[in-house]
């Protein structure tokens, strides 16, 4: 395999989706291999070293979780982005627990697919860098406070004493997407759902990145500072750069899908 190229493995039982991924990802220089079921995909993954994998959560022979488990068993480091139907967003959130790095809700646009692939690729790069240079003090890392919880690597939340929840974007996510151009927020009183997008961040190369919501609830406050100075998110993602304060809907259940911040 050519080291200069980016290799993608796409697993889906729907040919039109595989074709679409091939066309769209191919246009951005990805070399795409496809598999129609998980077994086929697993065999390919063990044979070749791919940079990223897109995998449907519902496959004819096994589901996405089993695929992730099988990869874990053989310590295959292949980063997986789950493709999910809307009905299985809850499952998608769960898949983050199982080791998927991100997920992409169906139906998606070309841009959504590309931004997801971009983030995936950058994520792999970023984690490789931190592993290679753990002692390198030059790479600045803003730590996530330990009482915060995060959904995947993307967003965080903090349950306040009065029951309201502050939510925001994690440092790693911001580092991956690059310089921020604009943040599109939802209006006040909107209802947001765990796993769905609650904001869009337009980043340096024109890609739009959705911010997945860590908890469901209703927005009761928006960080007004963001409209005048969106860069505050980059500067101080965990305190001044918060996005919303929400009243959570199903806190006790949904909090189980979240991870404790420790980086």
């Amino acid at each position: 395999m050519d080291k200069s190229k980016k290799y993608l493995l796409a697993i889906d039982d729907e040919p039109v989706i595989l074709e679409a991924i091939k066309r769209v990802a191919g246009s951005e220089g990805w070399e795409v291999a496809t598999a129609a079921d998980a077994t086929q995909g697993f065999n390919l993954a063990t044979k070749n070293a791919y940079d990223l994998c897109l995998c449907d959560i519902k496959l004819p022979d096994m589901d996405g979780f089993q695929f992730l488990e099988k990869l874990n068993e053989i310590h295959n480091p292949l980063p997986v982005i789950m493709i999910t139907g809307c009905a299985t967003v809850e499952n998608a959130v769960k898949s983050l627990d199982f080791g998927a790095i991100d997920y992409l809700p169906k139906p998606f646009t070309a841009d959504e697919l590309l931004s997801s692939l971009y983030r995936g690729f950058r994520y792999v790069e970023a984690t490789k860098k931190t592993q290679n240079a753990k002692s390198n003090t030059n790479s600045l890392i803003v730590p996530c406070p330990s009482q915060y919880k995060s959904l995947g690597y993307a967003s965080w939340c903090f349950v306040d004493r009065d029951g309201s929840v502050k939510i925001g974007v994690s440092f790693l996510f911001l580092k991956i997407i690059g310089a921020i151009i604009k943040i599109n927020l939802l209006p006040l009183e909107s209802e947001i759902k765990q796993g769905f997008s609650c904001a869009e961040i337009e980043a340096e190369n024109g890609l739009i990145h959705p911010v997945i919501t860590p908890l469901s609830g209703q927005i009761i406050r928006i960080n007004d500072q963001l409209t005048s100075d969106p860069l505050i998110v980059e500067k101080d993602p965990y305190f001044q750069g918060w996005l919303y304060i929400i009243v959570p809907q199903n806190l006790n259940y949904e909090i189980n899908h979240l991870m404790v911040c420790n980086q």
Binding site: G85, P107, T109, L113
Partner: protein, 621 residues
């Protein structure tokens, strides 16, 4: 009949009463007859003493003729069977029946036995021992005999005749036998009376008990039984009338409470069952549509990215991508629905939503030379709606209007207003049930486009149907026969024939019987449907008072809707567009408005145009 509690109770009480009364009667009879017999004994004894004493003078003077005469006279009395005087040897000295004089009786005979049992005869005996009661033949009347010993007295041995020595203690006996016919007759009469009285008392007791049991046990139990049967057959809103404060009354009340709870639970179950199966269908459809939609969306958006330089193509593709995104929202909505979630409501400006819908249809409208006239009211309050769903409502209506106008051009005017409406004549009845839970909504017969409420009526034995207007208080009812006042009428469920008449109330306007329909989750609807009156009352809605609405009127100058199909336009799969339409547009609109507690109505004039009026509630507070 024989298994009824009341019958068993009465039977048991009657048996016990009979036993008690019989025992009591027997005891009373015994003591009574003993008393009577003792009196008779005393009386006969006194009589024999009197005879003895009256013969004494004659005996002392040894005047036998006089003694004979006295005995004969006594013997003539009606009830005296026999009267005789025996001497010590048992020889009959005097007797009323002269043929017996001179006879010698055996001392061992029954009459003499009590004294002459032992060899040395007794000289004194108590009355009861001296009395004997017997029958000559088994069939004859009873007879009482009294032996009265005649004792030796100084006057006897001192008398001139010197017939008796001083040493003799008993000179002879007076034997008096009287028949007991009258006494026995008396006793049997009394016995008969007593039996009759006892039977009467038992009967009276039984009747009184029967009446009491019927009132306090039988009727309440009957009502409970009817209620259990009604509930068993599915009529869960049947209530038992008040049965008082005893245990049965408490039972009835807790029964009513139980059925009410049960009815609520069933209603919820029914609703959730319906939602669950609809949800499965929606989830299935959404899942199937998701994959092709992904194909369309990725290719279209990819194409969009690559045609940034070709302006015309780019803007057309933008529409494709935007509308595919909208489809994505619809699919999401379907899945949300499948998960029983409510529409994603946010506070929105209705004008923005309408404008967005207009933008989507802009090209088509311009192509058909259709003018848009916006009559927006200034400063409308925001309303709590799902803007995506509501946009779909307006898009669908605009498409319909454009198709009604056709290629020759026309005008669509959109007018908004803030109105305050009384629920009367506005709120749509979307569900109505009979007491057994049968759906009364009839999608076949529509009144101004909405499913009507179908009721069966019986007038003078003739069956017919009435279709109630689903708009509360509007009363565009349809009936196959005219409904006059003062005609006896039966109102029935067309499915199970259960009566829908409210027995407790009558029409406050005309006094006629009124119907009572269950509106699931929203109380009960009462109404009168005689042609002149048509009173209606829906407590649940009336309590909410007048509400604020935003009114949106979308009028077109199109061909209009023929009156014969105006009733069908909200039906799923009803279409006049042949292959071009799915027939789902207005049905979807209806569903969306239902989710927003909104209403839609249609007015149309053939050749002139159609106006759809939508009302969306403004939340208070």
């Amino acid at each position: 009949m024989f298994n009824k509690i009341s019958f068993k109770l009465i039977l048991a009480i009657a048996v016990v009463a009979t036993l008690v009364f019989t025992g009591f009667a027997i005891l009373t009879f015994r003591t009574q007859s003993n008393l009577v017999m003792n009196q008779v004994k005393n009386f006969v004894n006194t009589q024999s003493e009197t005879i003895k004493n009256s013969t004494k003078v004659a005996m002392l003077s040894n005047n036998r003729e006089v003694t004979h005469e006295i005995i004969r006279t006594v013997g003539k009395q009606a009830c005296v069977k026999q009267v005789r005087i025996l001497n010590k040897e048992g020889k009959v000295m005097y007797a009323a029946d002269s043929s017996q004089i001179g006879m010698i009786l055996d001392k061992k005979a029954e009459a003499c036995y009590s004294c002459h049992e032992s060899d040395q005869p007794l000289e004194k005996l108590s009355i009861s021992k001296r009395v004997r009661i017997y029958r000559l033949h088994p069939d004859s009347t009873r007879i009482m005999g009294v032996i009265n010993p005649i004792y030796n007295e100084p006057s006897c041995w001192q008398a001139d005749c010197h017939a008796h020595p001083k040493s003799q203690k008993v000179l002879g006996v007076l034997d008096l036998t009287v028949c007991l016919r009258y006494v026995d007759q008396e006793i049997s009469t009394v016995t008969r009376e007593m039996i009759v009285l006892a039977i009467l008392a038992i009967l009276l007791l039984a009747i009184i008990l029967w009446l009491l049991i019927k009132k306090f046990v039988d009727r309440p139990v009957q009502k409970l039984l009817t209620a259990t049967r009604e509930v068993a057959s599915g009529n869960l809103i049947y209530t038992i009338p008040d049965l008082g404060n005893d245990e049965l009354g408490i039972l009835a009340r807790s029964f009513n409470k139980m059925t009410r709870k049960l009815a609520e639970a069933r209603q919820q179950l029914f609703q959730s069952d319906k939602m669950a199966s609809l949800g499965r269908l929606a989830a299935g459809v959404a899942h199937e549509i998701n994959n092709p939609l992904t194909g369309i969306l990725t290719y279209a958006s990819f194409l969009l990215k690559r045609t940034k330089n070709q302006h015309e193509l780019h803007s057309d593709l933008e529409v494709i991508v935007r509308e595919t995104m909208r489809s994505r929202e619809i699919v999401k909505g379907l899945l949300d629905f499948a998960r029983q979630s409510i529409p994603k409501k946010v506070h929105s400006d209705i004008h923005e939503v309408i404008d967005r819908a207009l933008k989507v249809s802009e090209n088509q409208l311009a192509l058909n030379q259709i003018q848009i006239e916006r009559n927006y009211a200034p400063r409308l309050p925001t309303i709590y709606i799902d803007p995506n769903q509501m946009q779909q409502v307006f898009t669908n209506l605009l498409v319909n209007a454009q198709q009604a106008i056709g290629p020759n051009g026309g005008k669509i005017s959109i007018k908004t207003a803030h109105v305050r409406l009384s629920p009367y004549g506005k709120v749509q009845i979307k569900q109505a049930l009979c007491p057994k839970g049968h759906d009364l909504m009839d999608a076949q017969m529509r009144i101004d486009g909405l499913p009507s409420i179908k009721l069966k009526i019986k007038i003078n034995g003739k069956e017919s149907f009435v279709y109630l207007d689903p708009i509360y208080g509007r009363n565009h009812c349809r009936s196959e026969i005219p409904l006059k006042n003062n005609t006896p009428i039966e109102i029935l469920c067309p499915k199970c024939d259960i009566s829908l008449i409210d027995k407790d109330e009558e029409c406050p306007k005309c006094g006629m019987p009124i119907y009572l329909l269950e509106i699931p989750g929203k109380g009960q609807l009462r109404g009168c449907f005689t042609d002149d009156c048509q009173w209606q009352h829906w407590d649940y809605i009336e309590k909410q008072g007048p509400r604020d609405y935003i009114e949106i009127k979308i009028s077109d100058t199109g061909c209009g809707i023929p009156p014969e199909i105006v009733d069908k336009i909200f039906d799923p799969f009803f279409t006049t567009k042949g292959q071009q339409g799915t027939g789902l547009g207005l049905a979807v609109i209806w569903g969306i408005l239902e989710n927003h507690e909104g209403m839609i109505s249609v007015e149309s004039e053939l050749g002139k145009g159609t106006t759809f009026t939508i009302h969306l509630p403004v939340k208070r507070g």
